[in-house]
C-alpha cells in the first residue's frame, strides 16, 4: 500500500510536495492557490483592476500549485523562476531552467519593468489641465502625500528598518511602479510583498475611497459643478518644453530616481510629438506588455514562505494606513481649496491628488456626478492626479537619496 502511494506521489510531484513541507507552509500554499482564484475572479468581474489582477491571480495560484523537488538542487522549487540566484554562473544555469528567469533578471532586478510601465503611463497622460492650472494641481497634490510622510515613522516603530519603512511609506504615493522601483532600491528583500500589497490596495481604491469621501465631505460640497472654471488650451510645444525642462531638473536633483523621471517624461514627449509609430508602441506594446508581465511575475514571486513571514501582516496594516492617510490628506487639501476659492473648487479634486492616475480622478468624478449629474469634474481632476505622480516621484526620490545616509 505504502509503495503504491509512493509510486503515485512520484508520478505527481506537485501533490507529493505538500507532504514534504511542514503543515503551516502547506496550508499557506493552499490558501494562496485559493487567493489566486479569488483575485482572478475579482479581476474578471472588474471589481479589481483586471489588467493586473488577472495575470497576478493566475501567477499566484499556479506557482503555488506547481512545486516539485528540483533535479538540480534537490530542494523544493518551481519551474517558474528563482529569485535567489547571485553569481553569474547561477544566472546562466537559471536561464536554462526557469522559463520566467529572463523576464525577472532583465526587467525586475534593475527596475526596468517599472520604467516601462511609466513610459506607457506617460504616453497616455493628458497634461492639458495640469499646465493650464499648475498652481491648483500641485497645491492639491502636496497634502495628498500625507500617508507617504506619516507612515515612515509608524513603520519604523513597528520594527522595520529605515530603508524598509521608506519603501512601505511610498505605498501612500499610490503609484505601483514607483513602489516597485523604490523597494528594489531600498529594500530588495521585501520588494515582492510590498509591491503586491501596494497593487492589491491600489485596486481596492476605486471601491474604498468613495466611503472615505462620504464620511469626510459634506454632500453639498461634493456636487460643486465647477462650471465657472474653464480649461485653457495648451499647445503641444508647451507640454514638450515642460516635460524636457522638468525632467532634466528632476534628474539633476535626484540622479538616483532619474530612470523613473526619464521614463515618464519620455512617454509624455512621445505622445505630444505625435509620432504615431512610437505612440502605438508605447501605448499598445510597452504599457500592455509590461503590465501583463508585471502582474504575472509578481504573482509568480508570491510563495508561501513570504506569506507566513510575520512581516506580511504588518505590511498589510501599514499599506492600509498609508493609503488611508493620503486620502485624508488629499480631502483636507480639497476642503481648504474649496474654502479659499469661495466654493468654486470641488473638494473632491483633493482625492485626485493621491496619484494612482487615472483611478483617483475617476473616483472624484464618480462621487461628484452621483450628487449632481451636471458636475463633470473629470478634466479638472486629471490635473491634481498628474501632479500627484510628480510629487510622489519627488518624495520617493527624496527617500531613496536620503534614507540610506540616515541613522535613527
Amino acid at each position: 500500500m505504502q509503495s503504491t502511494l509512493k509510486e503515485f506521489m512520484s508520478i505527481f510531484p506537485g501533490i507529493e510536495s505538500f507532504f514534504l513541507m511542514d503543515s503551516g507552509m502547506a496550508i499557506a500554499r493552499i490558501l494562496l492557490i485559493l487567493l489566486g482564484f479569488f483575485l482572478c475572479y475579482l479581476g474578471y468581474k472588474k471589481i479589481l483592476d483586471p489588467l493586473l489582477m488577472v495575470p497576478m491571480g493566475v501567477g499566484i495560484s499556479m506557482v503555488n500549485a506547481g512545486i516539485l523537488i528540483m533535479p538540480n538542487t534537490g530542494k523544493l522549487g518551481t519551474m517558474f523562476l528563482n529569485a535567489l540566484v547571485e553569481s553569474p554562473q547561477q544566472h546562466i544555469d537559471a536561464f536554462q531552467i526557469y522559463f520566467l528567469q529572463p523576464i525577472y533578471a532583465l526587467t525586475f532586478s534593475n527596475g526596468l519593468i517599472a520604467c516601462l510601465v511609466f513610459i506607457g503611463i506617460g504616453s497616455i497622460t493628458e497634461l492639458d489641465f495640469f499646465i493650464a492650472n499648475p498652481r491648483m494641481s500641485l497645491l492639491l497634490a502636496i497634502p495628498a502625500e500625507l500617508g507617504t510622510i506619516l507612515t515612515f515613522p509608524i513603520a519604523l516603530i513597528m520594527g522595520f528598518n529605515p530603508s524598509e519603512s521608506a519603501s512601505i511609506a511610498i505605498i501612500g504615493g499610490a503609484d505601483g511602479p514607483m513602489v516597485l522601483f523604490a523597494s528594489l532600491q531600498l529594500a530588495r528583500h521585501l520588494f515582492v510583498p510590498i509591491t503586491i500589497v501596494a497593487y492589491i490596495y491600489l485596486s481596492i481604491i476605486y471601491a474604498g475611497y468613495p466611503f472615505l469621501i462620504k464620511i469626510a465631505v459634506p454632500k453639498k460640497l461634493r456636487g460643486i459643478p465647477m462650471e465657472e472654471m474653464t480649461v485653457k488650451k495648451v499647445s503641444s510645444g508647451e507640454k514638450i518644453a515642460f516635460s524636457i525642462v522638468t525632467g532634466s531638473v528632476l534628474c539633476l536633483l535626484f540622479p538616483v530616481a532619474s530612470p523613473l523621471f526619464v521614463s515618464f517624461f519620455l512617454g509624455v514627449i512621445i505622445k505630444e510629438s505625435k509620432i504615431n509609430r512610437f505612440i502605438d508602441v508605447s501605448d499598445n506594446v510597452i504599457l500592455s506588455g509590461s503590465t501583463l508581465f508585471l502582474g504575472f511575475t509578481l504573482g509568480c514571486l508570491l510563495s508561501a514562505d513570504i506569506v507566513v513571514d510575520p512581516k506580511m501582516f504588518k505590511l498589510i496594516i501599514l499599506g492600509f494606513i498609508a493609503l488611508f492617510l493620503s486620502g485624508v490628506g488629499g480631502l483636507c487639501g480639497g476642503l481648504i481649496a474649496c474654502k479659499l476659492s469661495n466654493g468654486k473648487i470641488n473638494p473632491l479634486l483633493g482625492i485626485a491628488g493621491v496619484s494612482c492616475i487615472p483611478t483617483t480622478a475617476k473616483v472624484a468624478h464618480k462621487c461628484a456626478h452621483e450628487i449632481n449629474p451636471k458636475a463633470f469634474i473629470m478634466p479638472y481632476a486629471m490635473g491634481p492626479s498628474i501632479a500627484g505622480v510628480i510629487t510622489s516621484a519627488i518624495i520617493a526620490a527624496c527617500y531613496i537619496t536620503m534614507v540610506p545616509r540616515m541613522s535613527f
Binding site: 500641485l138 510622510i149 515612515f152 515613522p153 519604523l156 508647451e238 525642462v245 522638468t246 531638473v249 510628480i390
Partner: protein, 40 residues
C-alpha cells in the same frame, strides 16, 4: 519614543524639501507659459 519623533522630524523635512521642489516645478511651468505666450 525618541526614535518615533526623530523619524517623524526626518519625514517632515522630506515633506518640506518635496514641497520646495514642487514649487520649483510650478515655477518652471509658469516660466514656460510666459515664453510660449510671448511666442504666440
Amino acid at each position: 519614543m525618541e526614535k518615533f519623533w526623530g523619524s517623524l522630524k526626518f519625514a517632515f523635512n522630506i515633506y518640506i524639501i518635496a514641497t520646495f521642489i514642487t514649487l520649483l516645478v510650478l515655477g518652471i511651468v509658469n516660466i514656460i507659459k510666459k515664453f510660449t505666450e510671448k511666442d504666440s
